[in-house]
Symmetry: C2
Subunit: 108 residues, 2 copies
């Protein structure tokens, strides 16, 4: 992951609806959720939810799979992990100052 790849990923995270979707999918676990249930959970119209799900899927943060009539979505943790790693290790060079004030990665 480099800055050119990371920037659009941050752009996808820069939306409360999409953060809510991620949260819902994380809570749903490996089985994921279908579009309709996600829309309900985040109180968005089907079309609006679909718009945000498309953004999440295109950038690889979510994975889509058809299950008969429904479209199932789940989180791709590898992508989120790569982004966190970029921010921590590349962008901030694994700075001691960052580790000092961020619990994540502090015990390494």
């Amino acid at each position: 992951m480099n800055a050119a790849e990371a920037a659009p990923l941050f752009g996808v995270l820069a939306n409360e609806d999409r953060l809510s979707v991620i949260r819902a999918l994380v809570e749903a676990g490996p089985d994921g959720m279908c579009a309709g249930d996600i829309a309900q959970k985040i109180s968005a119209s089907p079309s609006r939810a679909s718009f945000h799900l498309a953004a999440l899927t295109e950038c690889g943060i979510a994975i889509r799979q058809r299950q008969s009539r429904k479209l199932n979505y789940r989180v791709n943790f590898a992508m989120i992990g790569a982004l966190i790693e970029f921010l921590f290790e590349d962008c901030c060079k694994g700075s001691a100052a960052l580790r000092a004030c961020c619990a994540v990665g502090s015990a390494r």
Copy 2:
């Protein structure tokens, strides 16, 4: 940090120029850099650099301090740390699946 606070922060990170600024400031260390040097380093016009520095400063990722004629900028690692923590712990609920594929925070 909650989703409402995190979303605009991700928006600020969603730009290659601004990621370059952060990188430059991290490399510069605690002394920071002045606006002109940052503009040169990232090959941007003064006005363009200023625009991005304003975005970084307003959201708290960078800290600005006047030093006589120059304006000095440095990274606020606490803000970046809080954002990483939000993404890792809140948004992804410290998911084992995430820890399994993200070196940062894997040894906890």
